[in-house]
Amino acid sequence: MGEMKLFFGPNHPGLHGNFSVHMYVEGDTVIRARPVPGFLHRGFEKLMERRLWYQNLALIPRICVQEPDINEACYAMAIEKIAKVDVPERAQWIRMIVLELARIANHMWAFGGVGGPTGMYTSMYWSVSDRDKVLDLFEELSGARIYHMYIIPGGVRKDFPPHFEEKLVKLLDYIEGRLPEYETFVLKNRILHTRLRGIATIDTETCLKIGVTGIGLRATGVPYDIRKIAPYLFYDRVEFDVPTATEGDALARISLKPQEIKQSIRIIRQALEYMPSGPVNTKIADGNGLRIRVPKGMAYARVESTRGEYGYLVVSDGEEKPYRVAVRGASYPQGLYGVEHLMPGTRIDDVPIWLDTMGVCAPEIDR
């Protein structure tokens, strides 16, 4: 049978964001694949050089739509490293709570994401509705559901609103109660096992060679988590486990998500217990109001996002605007190199599963 070229995306229900794969297929098997990014390129990095340090806060969450808080955290942490500012303790704990809540919300979203290409729409309805409960809390905390702009250089914008902690505990209880249902309905589901087992398999050596981090790497049996290996915020003061699997396939990656949600809940409960009262932000540098100047320097800040290492390299020349900001998207290795070299061999109808469970996120590749 002859070779045929098919386009996957840039608009496809199985993709998060606009990203295209040119697939060369024989029968229903992809024999070559070429990633084509750039459909979302909005020049974030260039625009950041033309905006004030604080103005960028409105811009950066938009780089990763599904998990915006990691952008704010990396940006703020990199600036604090350059300015050598100590952030108040309470603010650090609040940041951890926000990042873990974001992780829970994003893992929930991923259940919906895998529900689409496998035809399990119920899991999509369930998880999106449960994720909305997390967004309700974010709305109460920051005034916004998706783009919170809550973590700022020097701390967080403001302290918890009244009774927020009780609501948070209630939410954690609720999600904990829902997890067994997800496990029964989604993870023990025969459809999911049939469709995901052995699909999009990747081994440890390849992950380390091409730079795949996060759940992709942990699903191959390596317990590498930046929160453990290079702890930021106060991750070294809380106890949590790093769940791993050995199969390295799509099913292993999805099965790790509820376990990570459990660990996130554990972290948030400890954070609520340990966090002191006190101020939640500090002055980052000299300057008038929001027109701050960050001292000269360069620093890289990384966090463990739901898809792996996410980082910002920030360069300052001492002026009111960043000199250069470079974003390291978590899905850059698997989204570009991985699609070209690892996707061949996949069946056409498994391509959305491949892209979804590998965590390919177009906006952070384009940035």
Binding site: P37, E45, I210, A230, M298, L313, R328
Partner: protein, 198 residues
């Protein structure tokens, strides 16, 4: 007890790092080390020693390449190439950087050491115009389609001017807002005779 163990580990780790820095300075003359935070260091290396340095660091455990990126120091007429390396066993990050001539931006590929570098290099080439010898796909367009101007992340590229040239302001025969006001009854006037406000 736990603290004292941690302290011992920290001391061992910092001794180990000191040893690495001493070796680096003796092997790669001209290498400068500066500390950004206790687990993050910037290494500035002369460009001819960069590949040797990267190979050495990869060999001693700094094997995870987070990103390759570039900074345009237009006043100094230099491009700074930054390779961010991470060691999974001790959590230490090195920002390995080198300066190359801005007028002749050519460097060497590291895609044989890190396959994903092929794409990072394409990215840097597209946005800064740096060529990476040995990367045959370097000049293929990645994000920008049919780009016909300076590489856009260079400091001398003016996005405002570019967008004015390529996407000129629309001109309208009639002012739609003025028309809408008349239709809504906010102001009196004749839709046919409406003039553009400016």
């Amino acid at each position: 007890m736990m603290n004292s163990t941690n302290d011992t580990n920290d001391t061992n780790a910092s001794l180990e790092l000191q040893r690495v820095f001493e070796e680096l300075k003796s092997m790669f003359v001209g290498c400068e080390v500066s500390q950004i935070e206790p687990t993050q260091f910037k290494l500035i290396v002369p460009s001819d020693k960069m590949l040797g340095m990267l190979t050495y660091l990869k060999g001693i455990g700094y094997s995870h390449l987070s990103i390759i990126t570039c900074v345009d120091w237009i006043d100094e007429k230099k491009f700074e190439l930054v390779y961010i390396l991470f060691n999974w066993s001790n959590g230490v990050t090195f920002l390995v950087s080198t300066f190359i001539d801005r007028d002749r931006p050519i460097f060497y590929t590291v895609k044989d050491m890190w396959p994903t570098a092929e794409y990072y290099e394409r990215d840097v080439h597209e946005f800064f115009g740096v060529e990476f010898e040995g990367n045959e796909n370097c000049k293929k367009p990645l994000m920008l389609e049919l780009w016909d101007d300076l590489p856009p992340l260079r400091k001398d590229f003016d996005p405002l001017q570019y967008s004015k040239e390529h996407f000129p302001d629309r001109t309208y025969e009639k002012d739609p807002i003025h028309e809408a006001r008349i239709i809504r009854g906010d102001i009196e006037g004749d839709i046919e005779g409406g003039e553009i406000d400016g």
